[in-house]
């Protein structure tokens, strides 16, 4: 116990003042601390949302939010976030049009003054007016050329977007077009009148509200647009009989909205969204254009290889053989198809000695076996088992060359 009363009083007062200073100091910094907390907590929310998305949503909407084939739309999607690829040009045109109205008003006023019979201007004034009118005319021409330029750029952008439309970027495309549309104009109509996803679906609230509501209650499947949507999106919230709590719904929404690039969306983003509203009219699924397949004519293939100097890589061939084309699933241990191991030896020593392959090179034999499997089947294996479309649909020249190069290493 501190001996004198004074020192105890002094210590006590110092302590209380120190507490007040400390708490005051904390209080001054509270605004910043709270803001920092909100910032950090948003980060945590996105992390948790990412976890939920990967386990619950990625299956249909794609791991990276690009949507899944015929199943569910992409969410990592400029259109979803209201990006207008021609917005800048549209605004420039509108702006120039406003200027034009002002300029022609001015010009009209001057013209009226010039032609006023009741109160004709002096000669000096007439000259002045004419000079001014010429200046205005020059400005009007400037604005017109601005408009013409913007229109040209806009047309170019919209033209580049037609692939996006084909890829189903705008599932409701057909509903807003008529039979004799010109693609450019209609895309223009699409953006001007329907704009972003929210406007399309007629949602009056904001995007977060749209996402949260959809997560809570799900939405009906639209088999016209998403043929594989299996009855639509289920209700995820516990409110609606689903599995997620409200805070988890919010986390998911925060994660999904974190895809928004704001003003930084690009045309590339538009084109990157791999989602297909519906098959094309011929029933095919639009996709990334494939390089031309090799075809099923071994002689032409060999000729092209020589001409274009296509050389196979055994390493790439091994990967293609095992994974992409799945050859190993049959061609192993010789049970259902000839074993991969020893292919080249057998080709040289057994097949090419047969009369029908007279004049064949080993390469030619392998190519024919791949692109025209029906021509010949090794004894004791049934023919017609191997897919016949490797040449016509699946393999490019390079891939075929790689596989052949790989098989040549199998001695």
């Amino acid at each position: 116990m501190i001996k004198s009363v004074e020192s105890r009083i002094l210590t006590g007062i110092v302590m209380f003042v120190a507490i007040m200073i400390l708490v005051g100091w904390v209080a001054i910094n509270e605004e910043a601390r709270m803001q920092a907390f909100v910032y950090q907590h948003t980060g945590r929310s996105i992390e948790r949302g990412a976890e939920l998305y990967a386990s619950l949503c990625a299956e249909c909407h794609g791991e990276q939010g690009y949507g899944a084939l015929l199943r569910a739309p992409g969410l990592n999607n400029p259109h979803f976030f209201g990006y207008d690829p021609v917005g800048e040009q549209t605004a420039a045109i509108a702006n120039a049009n406003r200027t034009l109205v002002r300029l022609s008003d001015d010009s009209n006023d001057l013209f009226e003054e010039l032609t006023n019979a009741a109160n004709p201007p002096s000669d000096e004034r007439q000259n002045q007016i004419q000079a001014e009118m010429e200046a205005i005319q020059a400005q009007i021409d400037d604005q017109r050329s601005i408009i013409a330029q913007a229109i040209a750029v806009r047309q170019a952008i919209l033209g580049s977007l037609s692939t996006a439309v084909e890829k189903g970027l705008f599932p409701l495309w057909d509903t807003i077009t008529d039979s004799d549309r010109t693609a450019f104009n209609e895309i223009e109509v699409f953006f001007n009148n329907n704009g972003a996803r929210l406007a399309q679906v007629g949602w009056a609230g904001d995007l977060r509200g749209y996402v949260v509501t959809t997560l809570i209650h799900g939405r009906p499947g639209s088999l016209n647009i998403w043929p594989n949507s299996n009855g639509g999106m289920v209700a995820w919230s516990q409110l609606a009989g689903g599995a997620l709590r409200q805070d988890q719904i919010e986390d998911l929404a925060t994660y999904i909205l974190n895809w928004d690039k704001g003003d930084n969306w690009t045309l590339e983003d538009f084109l990157a969204v791999e989602q297909y509203g519906k098959p094309l009219s011929d029933g095919s699924i639009p996709g990334v254009p494939q390089p031309d397949p090799a075809g099923d004519n071994p002689e032409m293939i060999l000729a092209r290889w020589a001409e274009e100097e296509i050389v196979g890589s055994a390493g790439n061939g091994a990967v293609l053989y095992d994974t992409k084309f799945g050859c190993t699933s049959c061609h192993r241990d010789g049970a259902s198809a000839p074993d991969t191991i020893g292919t080249w030896t057998r080709v040289l020593n057994e097949r090419l000695t047969q009369p029908q392959f007279a004049g064949y090179t080993g390469e030619r034999y392998l190519i024919e076996s791949i692109v025209l499997p029906a021509v010949y089947a090794v004894d004791s294996y049934s023919s017609g088992v191997m897919p016949a479309d490797f040449g016509t649909r699946q393999m490019t020249d390079q891939q075929l060359a790689d596989v052949v190069a790989f098989l040549k290493t199998q001695e």
């Binding site: 210590t11 110092v14 907590h41 980060g43 990967a54 791991e63 990276q64």
Partner: protein, 630 residues
């Protein structure tokens, strides 16, 4: 004649003049407020002078006033220092009031509902000025209070202060200890985060083992078979209403008994068998006013100052993710003051160790003063009881250690290791994998194989060799398949391992070394192991970290690796379906014409069986903005 129809201050002014009337008025008010001390008396007291008026006006606040009626007017000098009390009783009382005040402030922002409670915590942290400080103080105060009350009990035991006539004081003190424990425990649940839900679930389930009434008690406590809305409300009401009411009642009884019997003196200060606490010689008297009063106010300031400093710079109340009954976190424990019961539970039967043992222990403590009736309080005469006290402390410590998750709980090594690297922040600790700075999470696939090389091999060489090896034996493909199964986008799947960029990402390197170190510590459970970390960009400002462990499968029985006679682990060997061949070497077909197959061990080129390769993965997402404490 009065100006007003009754005697008033104005009459005084008229009669005595303004200045004198004011001073006398103040003097009078001070005397009423202090129940007997006028301005002069207060000034004398605060200066440390002796009182000039007789009878001593410093005694009247105790005799006539309410606030000091239970405080003694003087103390024995021998009990006013640090020894023998260590101020633990005072500190306990301090925390009762400290917790009440901070608790009431927190109540303003809290709703006891599972839908709202966690959001309220976030509001307190994000939108209530000084909210975080309040919450930290309330939480830290609660932890201190449990510790202080327990230490207070040990002090009483060691100085033998429970002896006659203070047996009942001891008993009420023990009740207060139990109430304090339950108060702290019931408050644990209220934030409704994972930490609270699971700590309380474990704690509450201990009651289940009570015969006959266990289930009912549990049901009453939780309001439903699982902790939910009813359970939260009940814990809240216990925390803010029932337990505080009990606490204040027994606090009153306890303190009343302390005063009735006087503060017990240090054992050596009085003769054996005597109790002279109430007979304080004149020269040993220290008066409450001013000495004890100023001392207590000073300590009030000092203690609050210390807690404030701790809560600003050294301690933040934990807040984990939202409570989720579906997700049991690895390594859940009860609050630290109940760890000893959790430890005891690992010794055997739930009833014996979870219910009977704590009951007997508390019962024994309650009866202590009635069992130990020897008159002497001197240490030398109480070797047996002091030994018991030390045994109690040791046993509690050991049991508490046994209560920790790392003791005698079998989790498979790979789960344990990945958890150790990635666990979410709790109690100011966080998995080292989460501490990699955001800009050092450079996308790519990294492997602990990088550290397996021998002298003279560069990291790049080792990784190149390792890439070739894992591509050939299919382990890399197995990893890629696992990653795809875990919903890593196919176009983000790694193509090969790369060396850790140690210049740009030293922390990443350190984490991978730590990962490797952990893996090497489990050579029998994880033979031929390698670990990998695959970092991918997920979103703007968001990375995904996939942790992978790949090893040869061993036979595990009852949580332990089964060893052969030489002490080597027994492997589980890989099998594959092989077509059954008849005598002529043709496949045997079933009724549908499909070849019949049988499982057969896979053999390597030398004809040895190949151990089955196992793979384990877990992933986490890290956002650049997210921080858990700072």
């Amino acid at each position: 004649m009065s100006i007003l129809p009754f005697p008033s201050f104005l009459d005084d002014v008229k009669e005595k003049g303004f200045k004198k009337a004011i001073f006398e008025g103040i003097d009078d008010s001070v005397e009423r407020l202090t129940a007997g001390m006028n301005v002069q008396d207060v000034r004398e007291a605060l200066r440390g002078d002796t009182a000039t008026r007789r009878p001593n006006p410093r005694l009247t606040p105790h005799a006539d006033g309410f606030w000091l009626h239970m405080r003694p007017s003087y103390f024995n000098r021998d009990v006013t220092g640090m020894y023998p009390s260590f101020r633990l009783g005072w500190l306990s009382s301090y925390f009762v009031f400290f917790e009440t005040i901070t608790g009431i402030l927190l109540m303003l922002w809290y709703t006891p509902s599972p839908e709202i409670a966690y959001g309220d915590m976030l509001t307190i942290l994000s939108n209530v000025p000084l909210g975080q400080l309040m919450r930290d103080m309330h939480r830290l105060g609660a932890e201190f209070m449990v510790a202080v009350v327990a230490l207070h009990m040990m002090r009483t035991w060691i100085t033998g202060s429970y002896k006659k006539p203070r047996q009942f004081t001891w008993f009420t003190g023990l009740l207060l200890l139990v109430i304090t424990g339950f108060l702290s425990f019931s408050g644990y649940l209220l934030p409704w985060d994972q930490l609270s839900l699971w700590a309380v679930t474990i704690g509450a389930s201990m009651a289940e083992a009570t015969p006959v009434v266990g289930d009912q008690v549990n049901l009453l406590l939780r309001g439903a078979p699982e902790l939910g809305a009813n359970g939260l409300l009940r814990f809240y009401l216990l925390h803010v209403l029932a337990l505080p009411a009990l606490l204040f009642v027994f606090f009153g009884v306890h303190y009343y008994k302390v005063i009735i019997h006087g503060y017990s003196l240090p054992p050596q200060k009085e003769n054996i068998g005597e109790d002279t606490a109430k007979r304080v010689p004149l020269d040993k008297r220290v008066y409450f006013i001013p000495d004890i009063l100023t001392n207590e106010l000073m300590w009030l300031g000092a203690t609050t100052f210390i807690i404030t400093v701790l809560c600003i710079w050294f301690y933040h109340a934990p807040l984990e993710n939202h409570a989720d009954p579906q997700v049991t976190p690895l390594g859940t424990t009860a609050p630290w003051y109940f760890l000893w019961i959790q430890g005891a539970l690992k010794l055997g039967d739930k009833f014996i160790w979870g219910v009977a043992f704590p009951s007997v222990a508390l019962g024994g403590l309650a009866m202590l003063p009635y069992l130990d009736v020897t008159p002497s309080r001197r240490f030398a005469h109480r070797r047996f009881m002091l030994t018991i006290a030390m045994l109690l402390v040791s046993a509690t410590t050991i049991l508490s250690y046994m209560g920790l998750a790392k003791f005698a709980v079998k989790t498979s090594a790979e789960t344990e290791i990945v958890h150790e690297l990635t666990f979410e922040p709790a109690h100011s600790k966080v998995g080292i994998g989460r501490t990699i700075p955001f800009d050092q999470m450079i996308a790519g696939a990294y492997s602990t194989a990088q550290f397996h090389g021998h002298e003279g091999l560069s990291a790049a060489d080792i990784i190149t060799e390792f890439n070739g090896e894992t591509a050939a034996n299919g382990q890399f493909q197995q990893m890629v398949d696992e990653l795809k199964f875990q919903k890593l986008s196919a176009n983000q799947a790694p193509l090969r391992f790369r060396t850790i960029p140690e210049m740009e990402a030293p922390v990443l390197l350190r984490v991978m070394e730590e990962f490797n170190h952990h893996l090497e510590e489990a050579p029998t459970e994880l033979p031929n192991v390698w670990g990998a970390l695959v970092i991918t960009d997920n979103q703007r400002g968001l990375k995904r970290l996939d942790w992978i462990v790949s090893w040869d499968t061993v036979v595990i029985e009852g949580g332990d690796v089964k060893l052969d006679d030489d002490g080597n682990p027994l492997f589980v060997y890989a099998t594959e379906a092989v077509a059954i061949l008849d005598d002529e070497g043709n496949p045997v077909l079933d009724d549908n014409g499909e070849p019949l197959t049988q499982e057969q061990q896979v053999l390597d080129a030398e004809g040895n069986p190949v151990p089955a390769r196992r793979i384990f993965s877990d992933h986490l997402f890290i956002h650049e903005a997210s921080a858990y404490f700072d």
